[in-house]
Symmetry: D2
Subunit: 367 residues, 4 copies
Amino acid sequence: MASSFGKIFTVTTFGESHGKGVGVVIDGCPAGHEISLTIIQSELNRRKPGQSAITTSRAEKDQIECISGMENGVTLGSPICLLVTNSDFKPGDYNDIQDAYRPSHADFTTEAKYGLRSKSGGGRSSARETIGRVAAASVAQQIMTRLIPECSIVAYVDSVKNIEANIDPDAALTRELVDQNIVRCPDREAAKLMEQEILKAKKNGDTVGGCIRCQVQNPPIGIGEPIFDKLEADLAKALMSLPATKGVEFGLGFSSTQLYGSEHNDAFYLEEDRVRTRSNNSGGIQGGISNGESIEIRTAFKPVSTIFKEQETVTSNNESVQLKPKAGRHDPCVLPRAVPMVEAMVTLVVFDHYLRQIVFSSTMNHQ
Amino acid sequence: MASSFGKIFTVTTFGESHGKGVGVVIDGCPAGHEISLTIIQSELNRRKPGQSAITTSRAEKDQIECISGMENGVTLGSPICLLVTNSDFKPGDYNDIQDAYRPSHADFTTEAKYGLRSKSGGGRSSARETIGRVAAASVAQQIMTRLIPECSIVAYVDSVKNIEANIDPDAALTRELVDQNIVRCPDREAAKLMEQEILKAKKNGDTVGGCIRCQVQNPPIGIGEPIFDKLEADLAKALMSLPATKGVEFGLGFSSTQLYGSEHNDAFYLEEDRVRTRSNNSGGIQGGISNGESIEIRTAFKPVSTIFKEQETVTSNNESVQLKPKAGRHDPCVLPRAVPMVEAMVTLVVFDHYLRQIVFSSTMNHQ
Amino acid sequence: MASSFGKIFTVTTFGESHGKGVGVVIDGCPAGHEISLTIIQSELNRRKPGQSAITTSRAEKDQIECISGMENGVTLGSPICLLVTNSDFKPGDYNDIQDAYRPSHADFTTEAKYGLRSKSGGGRSSARETIGRVAAASVAQQIMTRLIPECSIVAYVDSVKNIEANIDPDAALTRELVDQNIVRCPDREAAKLMEQEILKAKKNGDTVGGCIRCQVQNPPIGIGEPIFDKLEADLAKALMSLPATKGVEFGLGFSSTQLYGSEHNDAFYLEEDRVRTRSNNSGGIQGGISNGESIEIRTAFKPVSTIFKEQETVTSNNESVQLKPKAGRHDPCVLPRAVPMVEAMVTLVVFDHYLRQIVFSSTMNHQ
Amino acid sequence: MASSFGKIFTVTTFGESHGKGVGVVIDGCPAGHEISLTIIQSELNRRKPGQSAITTSRAEKDQIECISGMENGVTLGSPICLLVTNSDFKPGDYNDIQDAYRPSHADFTTEAKYGLRSKSGGGRSSARETIGRVAAASVAQQIMTRLIPECSIVAYVDSVKNIEANIDPDAALTRELVDQNIVRCPDREAAKLMEQEILKAKKNGDTVGGCIRCQVQNPPIGIGEPIFDKLEADLAKALMSLPATKGVEFGLGFSSTQLYGSEHNDAFYLEEDRVRTRSNNSGGIQGGISNGESIEIRTAFKPVSTIFKEQETVTSNNESVQLKPKAGRHDPCVLPRAVPMVEAMVTLVVFDHYLRQIVFSSTMNHQ
């Protein structure tokens, strides 16, 4: 089930970037919940290309359509199929690169795996595949808003190349706040510098990467599993399944290795009747299970592989060539559009584990 | 299936650290392969406590026994059950901490999830659970040695606290080389400093963390999946499912965000008839699928949570207390013993994806 | 994953009978195979309503469309989404029965499960859902024709009410032969009597059931699993997942209980170098694994629940009522249209187990 | 996951009949429930060989041991490993039959699948494997007794060869009642005749088969899924995964094909506030989901393949031979011992679907 994700709220994406369309089937969605296609559409609009000067000018409308699983806007409990028809496909765009393996793209490995190569551009290995993930996560989010309204999931651009945002870790971030600039970085000063860096790269036919932070505010306590399906393990898989990701860390992450245990441990205390921790170095997860503090995740995105500079490469006929792409329509930096993708994957994991935990909490026998 | 891992070569671990024993069931193991219990035992010995001055003195024998799935040392194709009986259990060890949640341990979250708390120490959330993983991975490794002998998986300690090893990335590392010192760091100078740092922490009743690098040398080309089950996504999940891990990165990882795309891209060239890359910034994986270059992974381990210093905490009866553990038997640094655990998880992922790919490569129709 | 089936060739169906459309996503399809939409369409035409006087007159066109997973008619290895848009939907058809639970329908149980009832007819519990299964199985069949051309899967109507067909068990049945009459019973005499029985029931506003036999001719040897995923276990699940099925049996089935072991055992002998059995009472499967003889399955279908006679029932508001449906468009007998559904489910199981076995046969070490 | 069963309460069995032992790992068991090993043992005793004159005289003690997942007899929520050590293994028993394929046994097909043959008797394809299933089902049963105490699962021998029991379908059957004779048939007259028939077959070195009925009394309403995981589909798979089964039917089963729809439909009526059906021809399931009436299942078991008569067969070296087994220790009729196996498989399906439904019923939004 290589194209499916989630044990109870299971999403299966389908579609190539240059076929008829892309979409998702959600199996295991709770019944009786009103779902707004308008809200799904607004999430897709945050993800879609062409939304600003720092994203690709490829201009898909990404109009969502519901094929099944809802009636009069209410979930039936049956599989929900959501479909986006491709519109802005220009086959000529990719003709010149059909035979040469683009460096750090999936061309070579896809051909190694499947014995053939999609004639039409990146095919399945396109960020366009994430439309289905964002749409499915919006369904999950809308139900979570009803079932666990106190929980919010918010991501933002934390760094672009060597420019880092400076955000108060206790700030009450919201998606609205994040969306106030086109970089999706809530530190306005940093956002300006990031925008300049991205435009500079774009002008040079080059690309830049960076990091996205994501925070699950007020998560349910006790979700996650103690062994293989640890909450951070499933989150790591979810995030590393996004295109262009190269690393993920939780709480203090790699920096935690610089501390002594006595510095890193999060002391417990009582806030009225609730058990809280003085610090949150663990990032809200201990032993694979959420402790109720904010879940803190940071994900690294490499610079986009599609650049407009000459590069050495090889063709599928095993000939050495120089690849000289004409300037075209691609993202100089994937970060701003990746923010809703990160939120989507985190939402899918949190909601699925929330549903998984219901079985345990409903059937346990309190001793 | 919270305690199972892998789609074709599926391992299910069981056992509490203070029950009768711990073990694993492997379902989907190829038939007809000779498996040496002695080799499995030697891997368990690399993992087991009490092996040196810088690990816990808790001295389990960790003697492996095969209950099923083999006859005369040959796999039958049926489920392989491997069992290690617990021997060095002293119930008294944990009595004083039964009611207080140990900071940054799984006590509080486990109770939140299951509504009860194992009376006998860390229970399932113990590094002891990884015995089953290491044993299962040794079975996989022994079959891989026959089916893909050119592929090796080697991990080593790359940093302890702020001491970093300096290893030539092109060095031909082997497990034998890594095991030449008790820290399992092939940079001898750094290893000595790391050992001193660990002993210093131990003396202070404190703990330290660090990073482990793992390299898959000469992996099969074309394994991994393009969407959710990307090779790096499944590796990330595998590694983040180990106790005490806080982050994972591939290739240049977080550092890749500092480069331009033109610097980061790995140019393809021909080495005789084989497609190679000039650099390996991608860490051997592109679009979720292996390209044949070394797979490079780095995992962060936090400092161990069990320290022998007074800490603020709360009991399960919601009382604020000071936890004052008596000095006991615990690891001041988990890194040296985590090396075989990292190798084990990487082996399980690589072997499972290798088996998954067999179906594709055997049934594709070359155009 | 309640709407998914198959471990390697995984199909997920979606769609309500009265929504926008129904379809299927196939994940795990081998790459590089030419697939004819015309052949898929011809299978759907065998399944679709309105094809003869003995099926419902509801006249859907059931036009198949490929959304993803193929390019120029060749499979890419990515998920294949096949979609059929609903056309002949008349909402008024079902208004009068919205609140009364139709006896032996899924109205009551669906409401019990999901807490709501689809306003638009049978919703998901409609034979229309099987479109996705038949389409997916046609993809599998077309690839099997290339990979295991000697294997054929043929079903036919074996009985309708008390009329039983008389078919030579060694006859070389084909789908063409079966399709020579509208009942899909290759015994022409019996077929005529069956047709009369069906028309009589239709005239009376009543319905009839019957049995379908299915034969897997020349199956691969050694497919199936010894424990839970026995070939007959997975076939039984597959067939009992079709609407209106009430029983399934293999080989002699229930009649085998009338024999002594010495009568029932299938003696082995050599036919040139191939191991064959003198009789085939086992129906081609021993210990859950195929032995190469024809796999013989018989499935019982109850009479269709939708009748045009007055019936006692209850409404969702817990009122006792008499249900008096106006004569409408429904099948007096599901058997003729169920023949391609049975073939589809058997094909999905055989192909999936064939793919599963490839891993074992490719990696075993012959002793 | 060929050796695993169940989506939430997942059981994985392991062990060969002639290795060190057999057992099961249960993953997903609710926490905090007291489980009596004595009750598990009593179920195993109902299953074990040597319990009466009409079963094999092979006399295993089948002593259950709990390796993990419980503490002081209470489930921890972690994987429960239950183990039975083999004791009565006499390797010589099987030497003479090592190379000849026993007719209608799994010898030939197992060798075809795995490329080797277990040297030690039937290996995995032994009824001994069902120990793990019965033990796991007893755990499930003990928790169900607490969570859904009104629900009972009772099976009995309904026929042996051509002798059929005559049981009032409305009788309140219990396991105690069924166990009052060694045949496990609650019709005493029929039981005597069955016993004679079994002893006659035994004397002749022959075997007999028969049918087992199973009833789920007062099942939860609304469990099961509408498409592939229909309750009857999962039950059919469960029962057809038992050794020697050849068919399964629900409610009227194959007989339902003899009725008109107007005769077969189960009219709904109100019994106080509860929706009931006048008849129960459907066997308690409609559209794959339970309606609250008794679930009625009938399973056919072929006569045991191991007979003590000369039979034609072939060896693994492709030589034709006559197999002349010495009289040994085998069951002349598997039915009495199969009763607890049938109950076990039905229990595993019902409990797993009960747990699955909890997610739906807890998260639906009532319109």
